[in-house]
């Protein structure tokens, strides 16, 4: 599999290199940035994963937050062990997403988009009003156990890379093919005995569980979380990563996340110009290079397999 797929081999190499960097680099700031790149890549890839069935899922941001809060509650309020607290993130995110998906995925297109948006903002509002969850100031004190402290960055990157790899394999499996079929024309899979609504919910739950786990990792990485970390803007940035990297292949959002996260490190001091920068880049890419960075790459190679967006 690796021999026939040099791109995949390269990705695994990069992930391994990142893990080694986290283990042996002495600079916590750069290690932190590497974790951010991977966490943002998971956000972008899960957003794209639901795009496979054709739905734009703003609630990616909500489930990232639900995972983070689940881990924070398990770890700081119930004092559960590290790995159990971490496991709480995908479990809770998965359960909530199953219920949310079951209710909302009967709708599609604009309705689903708007409901996932409203859900994200409402969940955030709920955090701010809940004293149990620390209200506006959020929750603090999620620390990995002392013994693991030195290894935590490596563990975090390993988990996030594993999520990316798992989503890649799922997309390549027959399940991924079925998801794409639903996006293409859902009447066809329905007419040949596939439970389209059930499959949509499955796709949504897989993505939400994955991004939930990333949220749990985020909680331990930052040690502090607050409602303001999980606005719909998180999903907007994820969308920017997807668009800039290119949505034709799973590697696109990963490249997009890496590029913009690194660029973002230089932009934090720019205040309002940061928004202008993101806005301009989203519009510019959308209008001038609809295939994103990987679209450009394929254009140079002259490959005929570039999937045109039906714009």
């Amino acid at each position: 599999m690796l021999r026939s797929n040099p791109g995949l081999a390269l990705c695994i190499l990069i992930a391994l290199a990142a893990i080694c960097f986290a283990l042996f680099s002495g600079d916590p700031y750069y290690v932190q940035v590497v974790i951010w790149v991977f966490a943002n890549a998971v956000l972008a890839v899960t957003l794209r994963f639901v795009l496979l069935i054709g739905e734009l899922n703003i609630a990616t941001a909500a489930f990232f937050g639900i995972g983070a809060y689940a881990t924070a509650v398990a770890s700081t309020i119930y004092d559960l062990p590290f790995f159990i607290s971490l496991l709480a993130a995908p479990v809770i995110a998965g359960l909530v997403s199953a219920l949310f998906g079951w209710i909302t995925l009967r709708t599609k297109g604009p309705y689903f988009l708007l409901i996932s948006f409203a859900f994200t903002e409402i969940v955030r509002l709920f955090y701010t009003k809940s004293e149990f969850l620390g209200g506006n100031s959020g929750m603090i004190g999620m620390f990995p156990p002392m013994v693991l402290n030195d290894y935590y960055p490596a563990i975090a990157i390993t988990l996030l890379a594993a999520i990316l790899f798992g989503l890649y394999l799922t997309e390549r499996s027959n399940l991924g093919r079925v998801f794409k079929a639903i996006q293409n024309n859902e009447d066809i899979p329905r007419s040949v005995g596939l439970n389209v609504i059930g499959l949509k919910i499955l796709c949504f739950v897989i993505a939400s569980t994955a991004v939930g786990l990333a949220g749990g990792v985020h909680a331990y990485t930052n040690s502090v979380i607050a409602p303001a970390d999980f606005t719909f803007f998180v999903a907007v940035l994820a969308l920017a990563y997807v668009k800039i990297g290119g949505e034709g292949h799973i590697i696109g959002p990963i490249i997009g996340a890496a590029t913009l996260t690194l660029a973002g490190q230089f932009l934090h001091s720019f205040g309002p110009y940061e928004n202008i920068f993101y806005g301009a880049i989203i519009i510019g890419v959308l209008l001038l290079m609809p295939g994103g960075i990987i679209g450009l790459g394929k254009g140079f190679i002259g490959s005929s397999t570039v999937r045109r967006d039906p714009h």
């Binding site: 604009p110 409901i115 948006f117 928004n275 202008i276 989203i282 209008l287 714009h311």
Partner: protein
């Protein structure tokens, strides 16, 4: 009784602005089949223009408050229309009926315009002087005259839009395109031009809402964003593309907000709106008045 009347007056006043805002969104969706996340920036732009023109007119030029406000209102509509025209020509016209593409574009615009507003206006909220001072009382409830006039103006604009959509030739084209774009084109309706008109009317409605709202609330550069979530809930409830749905949905949401906000608190009211949406989705996925997609 007095309290209920007071809350009902609040409902009508907030509701009338919600309706204007949601009508624009729903109209743009109906004609172009896109969701405009930058709709709040039209609202914000108008409110900002009104506040700065008022400050300039009354403070610097010594014009009367009345005249300044009318001038500001007019300028706000013109500028927002212009912004609408520019973003349509350079952006939205390439994404007609492309939900995901237009969403991304509108998000980009939202970031770009919000950032620009912040640079131009700074983060400090500004209030404008009362255009119409005085109070009225009605069945024991009191209301500033300004809010009463706002309500009346908003209702007149809503009525005007209703007549435009249901009684004029342009309205017929808008409805035909919303119903079935291909069939409308076969009937010789110029889809792209109608889409542009629909977009501009929608932007103008948001500008009206913003210009009216600026008279009763302090203006900030993110004032429109607060309206966005509620407007989305309104059009989900009312059915995307439905004019009557937006009107009823806007009033319903305002009702929940003012009564729920009084008896419980504003956040509970917002949560209640979302619960309402969820219940509604289970029962009727296409909205109160929306018709099934298929």
């Amino acid at each position: 009784m007095e309290l209920q009347v007071q809350l009902l007056m609040n409902t009508l006043q907030i509701g009338s602005v919600y309706v204007l805002f949601a009508l624009g969104l729903t109209l743009i969706f109906g004609v172009m089949k896109i969701v405009n996340f930058a709709h709040g920036t039209f609202f914000t732009a108008a409110a900002l223009i009104v506040s700065s023109v008022m400050i300039w007119g009354v403070g610097t030029m010594g014009l009367s408050i009345w005249f300044s406000y009318l001038l500001a209102f007019f300028l706000a509509l013109v500028v927002v229309c212009l912004i609408g025209f520019v973003v349509y020509i350079f952006g939205f016209q390439y994404f007609l009926k492309d939900l995901n593409g237009s969403f991304i574009l509108s998000i980009g615009l939202l970031l770009l315009l919000n950032g620009t507003f912040l640079i131009l206006y700074g983060g400090v909220p500004r209030s404008i002087p009362d255009v119409i001072p005085g109070n009225v009382s009605f069945l024991g409830a009191s209301l500033t005259l300004q809010r009463l006039v706002l309500m009346i103006v908003a209702s007149v604009i809503t009525l005007g839009l209703y007549i435009l959509v249901h009684r004029t030739k342009l309205g017929l084209s808008l409805r035909a395109v919303a119903e079935d774009q291909e069939a409308a084109m076969l009937q010789g309706i110029p889809f792209r031009r109608v889409a542009l008109y629909g977009f501009l009317i929608g932007a103008t409605l948001a500008a009206c809402a913003g210009a009216l709202m600026a008279t009763v609330t302090p203006v900030t550069t993110v004032i429109g964003d607060d309206f966005l979530v509620k407007a989305f809930i309104i059009i989900i409830i009312g059915g995307l593309g439905s004019v009557l749905g937006a009107i009823l949905g806007g009033l319903l949401i305002a009702l929940i907000e003012s009564f729920g906000g009084y008896y419980f608190d504003p956040s509970t009211a917002t949560l209640a709106m979302f619960v309402l949406v969820v219940v509604l989705l289970i029962v009727r996925p296409q909205g109160i008045l929306g018709h099934a997609e298929k």
